[in-house]
């Protein structure tokens, strides 16, 4: 598995087209891998996330194969000065152990499925709407993902809900709408195997559209 960071240059027209549509960015990310090659490891899948702050746009990528982002840098990066940064993921993943504390960030698409009316023919997915519903969505699943969220200072789970937005974009001739949310906080590793699974296979739906990539970072005091 490989973990990659790539900075995008939002001043470029190519970058703006990609930032406007998760569908297009998904295509660009998929183009980082040759179409015919079978995955070397046979595990994990391609996951990506866009972290947009006021002054920078970072694309994070988790993939079974080493990506080649030349086309992305040429269209939407700084081709003459800045490349991308790819690291081997497996060696650090093996060092995850129960009891460790990490800061985490996860962009997810919290949904629940059900029937629109009691006599509806099919079941469909609905967005979770409120912060409480969305937080609850994460908290009820953490066991499955191999971690728990410890209680913070105010005796509440130490997770914050940051960017909540409903993204709409064109896919073929249809409009896709996704409700995405960024969870940030602290997690405690309970089951390292399950956590490795969540880190390489993603969490929740809409993984092709930039959701579900969980990243860990060391906790810093102060």
């Amino acid at each position: 598995m490989y973990f990659t960071r790539c900075a995008l240059n939002p001043a470029r027209r190519g970058a703006r087209a990609l930032l406007a549509s998760p569908h297009k960015l998904h295509g660009a990310v998929q183009a980082a891998f040759p179409p015919h090659a079978a995955s070397a490891t046979g595990q994990g899948r391609v996951l990506w996330r866009l972290d947009q702050t006021e002054h920078q746009v970072q694309l994070y990528l988790v993939s079974p194969d080493r990506p080649d982002l030349t086309h992305l840098i040429e269209q939407a990066g700084w081709p003459t000065t800045t490349g991308w940064d790819t690291r081997e993921y497996q060696p650090v993943l093996t060092r995850l152990a129960a009891g460790q504390m990490w800061g985490f960030r996860l962009k997810a698409n919290p949904v629940h499925s059900g029937r629109k009316t009691p006599d509806a023919q099919r079941s469909q997915r609905f967005h979770h709407v409120t912060v409480a519903q969305q937080t609850d969505w994460l908290l009820t699943r953490t066991d499955k993902f191999g971690f728990t969220i410890p209680l913070g200072e105010n005796k509440e789970p130490d997770v914050a809900v940051r960017g909540r937005e409903v993204v709409r974009f064109e896919r073929k001739s249809a409009t896709v709408s996704l409700s995405t949310v960024v969870f940030e906080g602290r997690l405690e590793v309970v089951d390292p195997d399950r956590l490795r699974e969540s880190l390489t296979n993603g969490i929740g739906p809409a993984k092709g559209y930039g959701c579900g990539l969980l990243t860990l970072a060391p906790l810093r005091r102060g």
Partner: protein
């Protein structure tokens, strides 16, 4: 012997010790004569009454919140509007807070506490236009002036404590010291008589010492969700030694 702790706070205070003629200054801390005058007013002493009992009290001040110096340019005319009075400047401390420790025999402190609860004359902080605000009495504590001022909690306003983003705060204290002390300053605010016909003040030497006390509004920085997220750097995961 113990200490009565007072909190002097008001929108405006003014503690002059060296004012003459048209320029009426203020010190940055309450003067001994000002505090004794306040206590004398509370107990119902008139200006001509003797002060002996109060002069035994020892007084120390801690500057909780320095406040801001304000200048008031004052004009006045005689009642018929014909003669203009001398133009004068009056200086005030705006939004200042002081902790004052009054050290003396327990029975006297008890009388003073009662008097401050139901003062005979209105109380004011240095000038008659400056009535005190907030809770004045903060109890009687064992120990001498220095000890009480070093132990008392920070009495500054909540917003000042919140704005001070550190676990401790260093405050200046002003207290009497022997005249032989090298760093002593001389102030002429030892009242001998408040009698308006012959006011008399003697010199006393004071020493400014800083004390460091905890800030009650300080919250220790925990790695909270917001902070962990603000600096979330997934690449640091690869450098971490585990």
């Amino acid at each position: 012997m113990s200490c009565l702790l007072l909190r002097l706070a008001a929108p405006l205070q003014s503690w002059g010790t060296s004012s003459r003629f048209t320029r009426r200054n203020t010190d940055r801390a309450p003067s001994r004569s000002g505090v004794l005058g306040l206590l004398a007013a509370a107990t119902g002493r008139r200006r001509t009454d003797p002060l002996e009992e109060l002069l035994e009290l020892r007084i120390g001040v801690r500057i909780e919140q320095p406040g801001q110096l304000e200048r008031d340019f004052q004009t006045a005319r005689s009642l018929d509007g014909q003669t203009s009075m001398p133009l004068s400047y009056r200086f005030y401390l705006a939004d200042a807070v002081f902790a004052v420790a009054v050290y003396g025999p327990d029975p006297l402190l008890e009388t003073l506490t009662q008097a401050l609860r139901a003062p005979a004359f209105p109380l004011f902080l240095g000038r008659r236009s400056c009535p005190p605000a907030g809770v004045l009495l903060h109890g009687v504590h064992d120990g001498d002036v220095a000890q009480v001022l070093a132990d008392a909690p920070w009495l500054a306003s909540k917003w000042v404590q919140k704005q001070h983003r550190a676990p401790t705060v260093t405050l200046d204290t002003v207290a009497d010291c022997p005249a032989t002390e090298a760093r002593a300053e001389l102030v002429r605010d030892e009242p001998i008589s408040f009698d308006p016909r012959h006011r008399q003040y003697a010199w006393r030497s004071v020493l400014k010492t800083p004390v460091t006390i905890p800030n009650p509004m300080h919250r220790s920085p925990m790695p909270t969700a917001a902070q962990a997220g603000g600096g979330h750097d997934p690449m640091a995961f690869f450098e971490e030694p585990f």
